[in-house]
Symmetry: C2
């Protein structure tokens, strides 16, 4: 009795196994270098090879996506040892799965011949995905080796920007006519050795390739073979244009629970399809890059990138932050006389700035999310303003009283407490107004409100908070 076999690798475990084998391999290698006798060397070389053979066996069993994950998790030197052990026919699939930064290190290690071989096995839409990272000669070589139709596909696939539907599209479409019977379609399908992955439906087209409808494979299975395609096909469908935003396609897949969807040109002619696996990858990459940029990283970073590369990946945000910090510092500088006369102000001012930033980011997070879902209209924007101002006023009174009390308890000055409370209320109101305004304005100017809004609000509530607090203190206390 054969049991079904789970192809999932415990990635963490495989990684530990790979690391252990690499470690053994390295130990032996060190021995070999130290001992010079020729017989000794032979034995060691055999043992040494043994580990690599074992490692290769392990790699062969793993799915390309899991090998990719292990490559990402290894320091560059070990990564390249493992990469050399991967069978050449799997190179292409694995290159597709690794992150951009790691792909760069792998490609740099391959010669032109290997790259052409690895790329040649891929589908045209996959070649297009790799193309930006490949040397020009490799692309030309691969291009020349393709049949004419695929050359055309590659050319068009490479022409779409990264965040468009065209970049997600593949060309593995099976299309049929609407005036044939189900029987004919079934006979046609039986000539396939294998159907493309994620084929949940065939595309019904006319003689000029205009899309007429969809024929779900599950309908084929239960339909009477005598009926015409026309009468079983689905006419209400979701189709995309290659220049639509990938983000919109992702939303549609999510909302309408799609597995695949046709892509048509301006004249309604079928040119390809998008499948849910491409969409899932896109969603993951998009949220990844949101996370990275929220964390202040320009792009995906190789875990084991050189120090210099990492510094380059991170300098932009640090520089921006430095500029906003300088501005805040000069705002404080204006009030140095006040601070000199009441030094408690220096200790208290970061509280006002910090809580303002926190509250502003809460507002921004809400608004950016609603904008991404297309949920904000002109009328509702006004209501949102009112609500956020209300929330800030209430929060300002609550937390402002707490900090006012704190200031009073520590510095025994009720005037200082009142200034703290007022400054907190005002800074939270500033945070609310800017927290709604900034993303709406960015959207209006055609920019992505998710990028940079948080840095901006923090800059404003920092400098604004210092100004409000020190300003009030100067007027009423000094």
């Amino acid at each position: 009795m054969t049991e079904p076999e789970d192809i999932r690798a415990g990635v963490q475990e495989s990684l530990e196994q790979v690391t252990a084998l690499l470690h053994k391999h390295e130990l032996v290698e060190n021995l070999v270098h130290r001992q010079e006798g020729p017989r000794q060397e032979l034995v060691e070389t055999l043992v040494h090879k043994l580990h690599l053979v074992e490692l290769q066996k392990l790699l062969d069993k793993l799915h390309p996506a899991d090998v990719a994950n292990i490559l990402e998790a290894l320091p560059v030197e070990q990564r390249l040892i493992v990469w050399d052990l991967v069978r050449a026919e799997r190179d292409g699939d694995i290159l597709l799965e690794v992150s951009d930064a790691v792909r760069e290190t792998l490609i740099a290690h391959m010669d032109e011949h290997e790259l052409v071989a690895a790329t040649g096995q891929l589908d045209t839409d996959e070649i297009a995905d790799l193309a930006p990272d490949l040397p020009r000669e490799v692309i030309l070589d691969v291009f020349k080796s393709l049949p004419v139709e695929e050359r055309e596909q590659l050319r068009s696939a490479m022409s779409y920007p990264e965040d468009s539907v065209g970049a997600l599209m593949d060309f593995d479409v099976i299309s049929v006519r609407d005036d044939v019977t189900v029987e004919v379609v079934l006979r046609y399908l039986r000539r396939f050795e294998e159907m493309p992955d994620h084929t949940d439906q065939l595309f019904v087209v006319d003689r000029e390739e205009h899309l007429k409808g969809l024929l779900p494979t599950n309908r084929l299975l239960i339909a009477d073979p005598e009926t015409l395609v026309e009468s079983v096909m689905v006419r209400e469908l979701v189709d995309f244009h290659p220049d639509e935003k990938a983000q919109d396609a992702a939303l549609a897949f999510e909302r309408y629970d799609l597995v695949s969807a046709p892509v048509v040109d301006g004249a309604g002619r079928l040119i390809g399809r998008v499948t849910v696996n491409a969409v899932v990858d896109f969603i993951r990459e998009a949220t990844d890059s949101d996370m990275l940029s929220a964390g202040g990283l320009r792009e995906d970073e190789d875990l084991f990138a050189s120090v210099w590369k990492s510094v380059k990946n991170r300098w932009a945000w640090l520089a921006i932050n430095l500029v906003t910090a300088f501005i805040a510092s000069r705002v404080i500088g204006v009030f140095e006389d006040s601070i000199a006369s009441i030094v408690a102000l220096a200790a208290l001012m970061p509280i006002i700035a910090g809580i303002g930033g926190n509250s502003g980011n809460q507002t921004i997070t809400m608004i950016v999310r609603a904008l991404a879902l297309g949920q904000i209209t002109t009328t509702s924007a006004r209501k949102l303003f009112a609500k956020e101002i209300g929330v800030s006023a209430l929060n300002g009174l609550i937390w402002g009283s707490v900090v006012g009390l704190f200031a009073f308890l520590i510095y025994h000055s009720w005037q200082l407490g009142v200034v703290m409370t007022s400054a907190m209320v005002l800074n939270l109101l500033l945070a609310a107004v800017m927290g709604v305004t900034i993303p709406l304005l960015m959207q209006k100017l055609g920019r992505d409100p998710a990028v940079g809004a948080s840095v901006m609000i923090t800059a404003i509530t920092d400098s604004g908070g210092f100004f409000i607090f020190l300003g009030l203190a100067t007027v009423f206390l000094v």
Copy 2:
């Protein structure tokens, strides 16, 4: 010639249309209230009804997911008008699609009878999804109305925690035996009027429901009808247990490009399946909640929640921030004498703290991401430490020199500049060490490193930065 029809609604446009109709409706309603003559009233009522009828027609055309999105985008009062216009038979599907916060407002508006009717139309796994928000009596009523087998399903579906595979699972499985021919399977399928959504494969089981393999429907289409299921089925597969983490299932769907996958119990018996649409929804919700908590919101907030509800949703993070701000404030307080003698310190100290927090967050973002992908081993952790310390040292020297120069130019003291530079280097080193340590430690303690790590690092680099800078200044300058 009929053209295919795109079911996608331009959500933003539909929302504007709905808002416009609601606006007309309200205008008329105001008129009705003002004018009292009975004839006038009749006319107005008709006009008024007209808008609602038009609105209802618009809603009927929209997909439940789009109606859900519109409901989320409307202020509560208008939301309820629209909700009343939605046909009762669609209530259940729409309740499944709206966010938790908005679902609460809709359910509060429905009576027990309506809720039972809405819920009764759903599949058992869907009822389980709604159950936490439903009054107990409604669940009992629905439960009693179900056939015995489905009661069992509902009971088991409700027993799994929210972030487990069990919560993603549905029961729409078609299973077949391995000792029948493809012909028999095809005949069996033809008895279905419609196959469940996302049926890309049938599940092959033995008499005791033990999973033996998978039979992709696409293989059914091209297989010779005479062959046995046994010889066309796939034995290498991915299966899940209901108590596995949903996150792991999501990773597997992403890596292995799955459309559906079987869920089996401890004895290998088939109990349900997970489909890619449930996984996509899960991914979206998980990243959403990551984003919300990164922004300082406890959970998904109704855009038009009352001020009081919003304050409750946001207070926790503000309180935590307040505590860390108080600590930082006390650290500064310790050095008040130094600040009193060199007031420039007050203006310069936020720069050190701010850049430290920025750099620490960069490190944490990298490490948290690598941990989520299972990419960190004991050996690589050491290398990561070394790398992050290198990056921080280099960044510290570069940006430290910039801020040192800034301090010198403004305050004409080279000693102050040197203290700035040194404090920057030290605070960035602190940020690097803690940025690696905090997430690794949280992971070791079995906590989610994505939650709270950023707040912790900021707290440390704030207080630490103030301490380092003011400490150095006190020792060398005062």
